[in-house]
Amino acid sequence: MRTLHDDPDLRFTLLADICGVDTGRKMQVVYHLWSATSPDWLRVIADDLPRDDPRVPSVTFLWKGAEWGEREAYDMFGIIFEGNRDLRRIYMPPDYKSFPLRKDFLLPDDAARSPGMGVRHMEQTAPPADAPDEVLLRRSQLD
């Protein structure tokens, strides 16, 4: 990343986007960079992150503006960015327990509850017992 930023031929000084992707089998972090020297965006994919403990070094040392992008990726996927000084949830309430944009996110069973105990009757508490794994987890065909 630093090479892409600093190299005088490449000079990818503008970070256009940073996001996380859950492909069903593994996690990815995707960066899009732009440089005055290249005609199109450069897509950098940090691929093959394990789904249970995805860790990626943070790019906040280069672009401070990536801090919130990384916070969002953490909030939505659970990807930990090492080196980000402020990795807490940004959209969900701070005591929320699961990560919404993951493919295995089911609304009621693992979300944090307020101090009351009941669950709302219209939400299912658990997937049906005979559902095969593939139904629940949509996988990408791209990898």
Binding site: T13, L14, L15, A16, D17, C19, V21, D22, T23, V30, H32, W34, P39, D40, W41, R43, L62, W63, K64, G65, A66, E67, W68, G69, E72, M76, R85, D86, L87, R88, R89, I90, Y91, M92, P93, P94, D95, P100, L101, F105, S114, P115, G116, M117, G118, R120, H121, R138, R139, S140, Q141, L142
Partner: protein, 407 residues
């Protein structure tokens, strides 16, 4: 359990009484700090106070909560808390098909919603490698530039409103009302247009729209200049806004700023020129930039952009070709697997989408990159050291829209 009034039994229980003792509602979160930045922020030194510029506030441009650490009247640090308008649009778009994603993405930038509608449209067209008819492209550019003008007119109004002037926002609303009525005769809706379609636009231009457009164009430039004499030369306004929230070029790039705040620092990055889409290569327009990088420069830049947009609309009207306005598409749209990154220039900055398709009729991952979200991080840099009264001015000059920030 039955008689304990301090315990909430369940949120669905109709007899629940939430009766906590009257506590001091302070801005400090009730759990220990989770990150080192949080710890640094929430420890107060002598004389400092945490104050909540809460979600319900007359001028936070939507529901944004900013926890300010102030020392007397000066802001020492701040912590924006987002999520009050989070609707989970990305997750929703994963569960609906590409056409439904257009209406779902509309309210992201509710003031100029043609831009947010364009996200699924441009992404799908890139994935399908679809050729959109030229007339449709020109109509899209027309709609985009009209939206840009209405958004900028509103911006100038509410920057003045946040500073206390009651009049300019109503002048801004005159422009906006006329444009919105025009677009209503074209699309059927005043605010969330739902007009762009994958492969073109929903309907052709009609006579009512064109006559209103002609009327408006004949008055627009002059009226905008007119309504600006109230503000630009106003000593009080200029004194409040000049030199406030200055960003230099290196900081702007580091903070991933895009849009008018970036161009006000002198970097001429405009997606319409840097990575042209639609028919922008054929249109002639300039990219206004300013070098000071303060709020006044951002404000004047919006004015310049309005003039450029009027120029573009002029050219579009002259060069509008004939033809169909919608490409032929199957009703059930299955997009081949692939990844696409499409970006466009909205009034706030670079609006981008990173879409992954897995061959079915629903997007697999629909990531929306919103400029307001990244631009809003800059307030953390700009506000400390200024007075509380300036916080609103700084935030207004960066032009955030909470619909986009919170997705």
């Amino acid at each position: 359990m039955a008689a304990d009034p301090t315990r909430v039994r369940s949120l669905d229980d109709p007899t629940v009484i939430v009766d906590t003792p009257a506590t001091i509602y302070d801005a400090v979160p009730p759990y220990p700090p989770q990150t080192e930045r949080e710890a640094e922020f929430y420890t107060l030194r002598d004389g400092e106070m945490l104050i909540n510029l809460g979600p319900q506030h007359p001028s936070t441009h939507g529901v944004l909560r900013v926890v300010l650490k102030i020392d007397g009247e000066r802001v020492v640090d701040l912590d924006p808390v987002l999520g009050y308008l989070h609707r989970g649009v990305e997750k929703i778009c994963e569960n609906c098909d590409w056409h439904m994603a257009i209406s779902n993405c509309d309210p992201l930038e509710y003031i100029a919603s043609m831009f947010s509608e364009a996200l699924p449209v441009l992404a799908a067209e890139k994935l399908l490698e679809l050729k959109v008819p030229r007339r449709a492209e020109y109509i899209r550019v027309l709609a985009w530039e009209l939206n840009r003008i209405s958004s900028h007119a509103l911006f100038m109004g509410w920057l003045a409103l946040d500073l206390g002037g009651l009049t300019p926002i109503l002048y801004g609303f005159i422009e906006r009302d006329e444009i919105v009525e025009m677009l209503a005769s074209l699309t059927g809706q005043r605010l969330l247009f739902n007009y762009l379609r994958i492969g073109g636009v929903n309907g052709d231009l009609n006579h009512d729209f064109l006559s209103r457009l002609g009327d408006w164009m004949s008055r627009a430039a002059h009226r905008i200049e007119d309504s600006q004499t109230l503000i630009n030369e106003n000593e009080i306004f200029v004194k409040r806004v000049r030199g406030l929230g200055t960003i230099d070029r290196a900081t702007a790039l580091r903070m991933c700023l895009t849009g008018p705040p970036l161009r006000a620092t002198g970097i001429p990055y405009d997606v319409r020129r840097a990575h042209p889409y639609s028919v922008y290569p054929e249109l002639e327009f300039g990219i206004p930039t300013r070098t000071e990088g303060d709020s006044y420069a951002r404000y004047l830049l919006h004015l310049d952009e309005i003039r450029q947009s009027i120029h573009i609309i002029d050219q579009v009207l002259h060069q509008m070709p004939d033809g169909p306005v919608m490409a032929k598409l199957p009703r059930l749209l299955r997009i081949p697997p692939g990844r696409a990154f499409a970006a466009l220039e909205s009034p706030r900055g670079q609006y981008a989408v990173y879409a992954m398709s897995d061959g079915s009729d629903q997007p697999f991952r629909f990531r929306i990159h919103d400029p307001s979200y990244f631009n809003l991080q800059t307030v953390g840099l700009l506000m400390p050291g200024n007075l509380i009264a300036d916080t609103m001015a700084i935030m207004a000059s960066l032009d955030p829209i909470m619909g986009g920030v919170d997705k």
